[in-house]
Symmetry: C2
Subunit: 213 residues, 2 copies
DNA sequence: CAAAAATCTGATATAGCGTCAGATTTCTCT
DNA sequence: AGAGAAATCTGACGCTATATCAGATTTTTG
């Protein structure tokens, strides 16, 4: 399924086992720092120190911190196809809300796990950075396709109005999913718990996708 | 209505007219650069050069580029109360969809105008930067309150399910609104026009707020 | 185990940040 | 108008982090 992509250093040479491991540890350290502070505040020296190596080593594998972040975003994206599969569950009758809930909960879990990297990915993508746009598109396309497919089914069955565009609605729903984990702390100001959030989102998803109240 | 807040420089002294003008030009230059490249890539020297002054002058008025961005976010937030007022339009009968459409269109316009600054504001807020969190909360609260109020009306009238939490739903809808302009270019890949987007969002907003299909 | 390949790092030039003392401009008062 | 005061601006500089490269160190190979 996935061909072994050969990792290379900055000069294009393939990496041996030791190098692969060093690179991986640099990525882990970067992820950890990214979840603590903003990219701008991350010093390459610090990443290196965390791994017990020198800045020069970092530059052997990555052009800059941004490139390391890009690789992390690619790793996170690998979880998406599994997540998209959840849409294959039933959308008929009482079980439909459970399908919807599972998807929402899984999506939030994915975000909680990769929060810092995904936020950065989206910022860069929104700012027009092509490489991050590509990663985001690759990550979201399976989800968008699935939502859009369900909406089209709903429209074909006459349950969902044809005034909405399936892809636009899919993007809107994906936006909700993407932004929820980021908001959930602020929402506590309004007395909204995480469960409220999951349930509410699940209802909006279900309603928009199937037309059911 | 709004008391004149006295502007001050880094050492706390009030600004005279010349200084106010210089500060304003520095802010404009910052906004312009922010819309061209990422914060990380903005050099203070460059902002200064654009205004025909020196870096030291910039530091007279702002602690760093982030602070200038914060001030820009505060300026953008001043548009929100007017936007929130749009929710006072009718939500009864056929006109309801027009109210919804107007809100969505205005929100997107606001984002198109302040895109770079708002994206940065959200990234910083998501990363836990208190000052940006405050600005975002101040900006969004009027909108959230309005949406939540409509939903509660819908629930009281028995049109909207009580399984959803009004504030969570409001936040979800605000997320859609906030993220749409950022997406609209990528959505063209899927053949979604801006009008599709406005219409689809307006429908989701209407449906969630009033329970109407 | 010596030579070759792979990997790592000390040293460094380069560049932007942020500060401050003092220069320049504008204002005030007679 | 013009001297002194206040406001505003800037040149110069010390500091920190980036990013590179030649060469040192470690691992692999035959």
């Amino acid at each position: 399924m996935d061909a072994e992509k050969p990792l290379v250093d900055q000069s294009g040479r393939a990496l041996g086992p030791r190098a692969v491991q060093t690179r991986e540890r640099l990525l882990e350290a970067t992820a950890e720092l990214l979840s603590k502070r903003s990219v701008r505040e991350i010093r390459v020296v610090e990443i290196a120190r965390k791994v017990g190596t020198s800045p020069a080593t970092f530059y052997q594998y990555f052009k800059d911190v941004e490139e390391a972040a890009l690789r992390l975003a690619e790793q996170a994206a690998e979880e998406m196809p599994a997540l998209a599969k959840l849409f294959d569950g039933t959308w008929q009758g009482k079980k439909a809300i459970e399908t919807s809930r599972t998807i929402v909960a899984e999506f939030i879990r994915h975000w909680d796990e990769h929060r810092a990297v995904l936020l950065l990915r989206n910022l860069e993508a929104d700012e027009g950075n092509r490489r991050f746009m590509r990663v985001r598109r690759n990550a979201l396309t399976p989800i968008l396709e699935q939502i859009a497919a369900r909406i089209k089914e709903g429209q074909a069955a006459g349950q969902v109005t044809r005034d909405i565009n399936a892809y636009a609605a899919a993007a809107a729903l994906a936006s909700i999913l993407e932004r929820l984990s980021a908001y959930h702390k602020e929402l506590e100001h309004f007395g909204v718990t995480r469960d409220d959030l999951v349930e509410t989102c699940a209802r909006i998803l279900l309603q928009t996708v199937t037309g059911k109240a």
